[in-house]
């Protein structure tokens, strides 16, 4: 019989990045007793990596901005697969959530008249991203962390959840282990909020940290909740490509927002070559106009470098595939050229993009004020996730909520830069609020220790196979390489089929992995457990990708290169079948109300 450390909370929040912290704060404000699970130390979650800013129609820099324009931009960027209710709430509430951060201590960059400064970003019509240089995520997570420090929240650091627990058909809690000693923790909770982030570690070139193993996606799926839009993975157009050890590290879109341009090895600014029809009216048709836009000229249209991420990533891939890439298989991203426009360019770049300057100087010996960077696409974000109610963020499993990247709906087929930091504030807050409300209506659930015992037995198996099978790292590595190659930016039916075959073999291998040592802070063991989630989400991504026989947003099919209007009418929803198989259904997108349709028409 395993021994458990037992904890009881009204609301258990799993994940302590921006969404989890905001949810925990809100639940605590509502009077619920709150437990907050961090996979790492508090304040280290992936939100620290967000660079460019948080999107909110504050209209501080351009007074033509308002929630309606933000809503229309988000829907257009998501190719209209978005949950329109979430897009509406998000656009309306983001300004309040950003102002609230200022009241909690965030120090955003300022406009000349002392208000919060906003910058241009891909797909946003007006300068909309409140920011702090290029370290906005760090500023936000620190603000939330510091604020939460003084709230009645029980923080469980370096704790990983391996399974949700149910009482009949409702949520009852979760089972996890603490990293330091490997002790099992049994959490009883009336409501659970998933805020675990994404699935980026399923791919080999990624901007995501080791934590991003699709835990929340797999936890929800295994517990019977529905997922949706899992075919939509965002490959950020600009990750570092050289040297090899830093491949995939993010280069903020803010570089392009500040005037950075993309150039191929022939010196051609190739982004002007292919501007999609639905963005033509909003895009500059010459370089001079693009530059004026980045410098705040309200009459100029944005340069094509600031088109949506899916489009820019594919344009880069095309240059590389057709032999016009940079020496290490990317293209050039150049901000140093603004020296010909600004007398204080060097200082300006260091002020606006300090961590990019630092990152390239230290990791690649490149001075970005003097030389171009080499960049290429990197796995960045998953639009898909737990299917939720737009208002409350509750999943299809009563008592289970999801917010931030692990939730789905807001971004549709493609997320706009800056919309994830606002997403986690708006829907983190809503998830916390409604989880607390839900918990208030419930009696304490019964936690079935038999369920927990079985989870523990399986979790400890890698130790019992000591010396038997291979280690977990090789299997993880092979999975990532396979997914990158076969279910990456460009997909084809035959390749996805090969991926599904490969997943079967990898699953067999994973079943046999063994780990050495004991349960104390043992990364081999942790990887063996995370591997299960990676396998689960990889199969779901592959199957959803096979089902969507068109190209849209983050999902590009070489064998179906065009958008198909018929595919615009549904989301692909994924559930775990009775035999453990992945079940896919096409669920129609509800009809948008007239007032929202009108907003979209007015902003065409």
């Amino acid at each position: 019989m395993p021994e458990y450390q037992k904890h009881e909370h009204d609301v258990l929040v799993i994940g302590a990045g921006g969404a989890g912290l905001r949810a925990a704060i809100e639940a605590a404000h509502s009077g619920a007793s709150v437990g907050l699970i961090c996979k790492s130390l508090l304040g280290k979650a992936h939100t620290v990596m967000a660079e460019g800013g948080v999107a909110a129609a504050l209209a501080n820099v351009d007074d033509r901005d308002n929630w309606k324009v933000h809503f229309a931009d988000t829907m257009r960027g998501g190719q209209y697969l978005n949950n329109w209710r979430m897009a509406e709430l998000h656009a309306k509430e983001a300004p309040d959530r950003v102002r609230e951060l200022e009241a909690w201590g965030t120090v955003f960059d300022r406009t000349p008249d002392g208000r919060i400064l906003q910058r241009n970003f891909g797909g946003h019509k007006y300068p909309r991203l409140a920011h702090v240089g290029d370290r906005t995520g760090l500023e936000m997570i620190r603000t939330l962390q510091d604020y939460a420090t003084y709230q009645p929240i029980d923080v469980h650091m370096e704790c990983t959840i391996v399974s949700l627990l149910k009482d009949g058909n409702r949520i009852a809690g979760a089972l996890g282990y603490d990293r330091e000693r490997g002790r099992f923790k049994l959490f009883s909770a009336k409501a659970v909020v998933l805020a675990t982030g994404g699935v980026g570690r399923a791919f080999s070139v990624t901007s995501n940290s080791w934590e991003y193993t699709g835990d929340g996606h797999a936890l929800a799926y295994n517990a019977g909740a529905a997922l949706q839009d899992m075919e939509f993975v965002q490959f950020h157009p600009t990750g570092m490509v050289w040297p090899p050890s830093v491949r995939g590290i993010l280069v903020t879109e803010g570089v392009r927002g500040e005037g950075g341009i993309l150039v191929n090895r022939e010196g051609r600014r190739f982004m002007f070559d292919d501007i999609p029809e639905n963005y033509r009216n909003q895009t500059a048709d010459n370089e001079e106009e693009g530059w004026r836009y980045t410098q705040g000229d309200k009459n100029a249209r944005r340069p094509p470098e600031l088109l949506t991420r899916d489009h820019v990533a594919r344009a880069i891939i095309k240059e590389v595939r057709e032999g016009r890439g940079s020496p290490h298989g990317g293209v050039f991203l150049d901000i140093s050229w603004i020296r010909s426009k600004l007398s204080n360019a060097e200082e300006h770049i260091k002020k606006k993009l300090p961590s990019m300057y630092h990152q390239f100087k230290q990791l690649a010996d490149i001075d970005i004020t003097k030389e171009p960077m080499e960049v290429g696409p990197t796995t960045h974000y998953v639009m898909g996730g737990v299917r939720v109610d737009g208002d409350t963020q509750m999943s299809t499993l009563p008592g289970l909520f999801a917010a931030g990247e692990v939730g789905a709906g807001l971004h549709g087929a493609n997320r706009l830069g800056g919309n994830s930091l606002s997403d986690l504030l708006v829907f983190g807050m809503r998830a916390g609020k409604y989880a607390a409300e839900f918990a208030g209506r419930q009696a304490t659930p019964r936690v079935d220790t038999q369920q927990a015992d079985e989870v523990v037995r399986v979790a400890l198996e890698p130790f019992n196979r000591q010396g038997g099978g291979e280690g977990p790292y090789q299997v993880e590595h092979d999975l990532q390489t396979m997914m990158q190659e076969l279910v990456g930016i460009v997909r084809r039916d035959d390749e996805i089929r090969r991926a599904l075959d490969a997943l079967k073999t990898l699953r067999e291998r994973a079943r046999k992995v063994s780990v050495t040592g004991n349960r104390e802070y043992n990364p081999g063991w942790h990887t063996a457990l995370d591997l299960q989630n990676l396998l689960t989400v990889s199969e779901i991504v592959a199957r959803a990708a096979m089902e969507r026989k068109e190209s849209r947003g983050g999902h590009f099919r070489d064998d179906f290169p065009d958008k198909d209007p018929g595919h615009a009418k549904f989301n692909i929803v994924v559930r775990r079948g009775p035999g453990g198989e992945v079940q896919l259904t096409r669920e129609p997108i509800p009809e948008m109300p007239e007032h929202l349709k009108r907003i979209i028409e007015e902003n065409k």
Partner: protein, 297 residues
């Protein structure tokens, strides 16, 4: 395209190719092996153990540690997250120097000798390279929270000039890697964790004290319970900060001046009693230290 644009574009490409070429040759770590002497152990007990692994261009010490995990020691414990110098998780001591594993390139180390990798020594060891840094989180709770003045505008917002937030933004760059705590002799050698909050938390206090919106006065706490007097400004913390925050000069010394002005100067103390924090600000300001701001008063 005009001729001018052509020349700009071609100079971008040329300069990019030059940079690529340089990065290919400058690393000086073409495929060969290096030895890493890594601390292994749990609790207090342990020893340094040698691991040999292949090194390739551009590698950082964290890459080597990961390779060792994959090849020879799957249970080798190390904290890391972002691998881009932004989260401050992978703090350790490399050849005796407190550094981030992810930002220390092998090309800057002498690989003819074993590279020693040890945990931060100022914190209780957990296992291998992982230490118990929880004291830092507890210390933060002791510093009184951010407390803003009433909003400046009817819509609940404030007005601050960029020049007034520059200093605070410097402090808020902190990634909480705790390397400054590791190198601070008050904590490392004298173990005064309960009496002295350490440089990281003094930077935290400084950003609160110099925050243009904050109205609390923490100088009494700094003197009495945060132990600012223990710092004798040897500046070791500033030297190891991976974010290049000028911890001693910009944060600790101005705080010490404020403490002296408000806690030891009877006139200033009287003003403070009468006027609250703004009185302290007047007294403590001397030079521009970010503490001004167009206070609502």
């Amino acid at each position: 395209m005009t001729a001018a644009k052509n020349s700009l574009a071609s100079s971008i490409v040329e300069s990019g190719q030059r940079a690529a070429l340089r990065s290919d040759t400058s690393a000086g770590t073409d495929t060969r092996s290096a030895t890493f002497r890594v601390w292994r152990g749990s609790g207090g007990a342990g020893q340094l153990q040698d691991y040999s692994t292949k090194v390739s261009e551009g590698m950082v010490v964290l890459d080597a540690i990961h390779q060792i995990q994959a090849e020879a020691a799957s249970d080798l414990a190390v904290r890391w997250n972002c691998k881009a110098g932004k989260c401050g998780s992978c703090s350790a001591e490399i050849n005796g120097m407190p550094r981030l594993l992810c930002m220390t390139r092998l090309s800057e180390l002498n690989l003819n000798e074993p590279v020693t990798v040890e945990p931060m020594r100022a914190f209780p060891p957990v296992k291998d390279l992982v230490t118990d840094v929880s004291s830092n989180f507890r210390a933060k709770k002791r510093i009184r929270r951010f407390t803003p003045r009433p909003p400046d505008a009817p819509d609940g917002t404030w007005r601050m000039q960029q020049a007034d937030v520059d200093r605070v933004q410097e402090f808020r760059k902190c990634i909480e890697c705790f390397l400054c705590q590791d190198v601070c002799h008050v904590l490392r050698d004298h173990h005064l964790h309960e009496q002295f909050v350490g440089p990281r938390l003094l930077v935290h206090a400084a950003q609160l004290e110099m925050h243009p919106l904050d109205v609390l006065d923490r100088t009494g706490d700094l003197k009495e319970s945060h132990g600012i007097g223990y710092c004798n400004i040897t500046k070791c913390c500033t030297k190891v900060c991976p974010e290049n925050i000028t911890i001693t000069d910009n944060a600790i010394i101005p705080l010490k001046e404020r403490v002296i002005d408000t806690q030891y100067d009877p006139l200033a103390k009287l003003i403070r009693l009468v006027r609250g924090k703004s009185g302290k600000r007047e007294a403590g300001r001397g030079k521009r230290d970010g503490g001004r701001g167009n206070a609502a008063s």
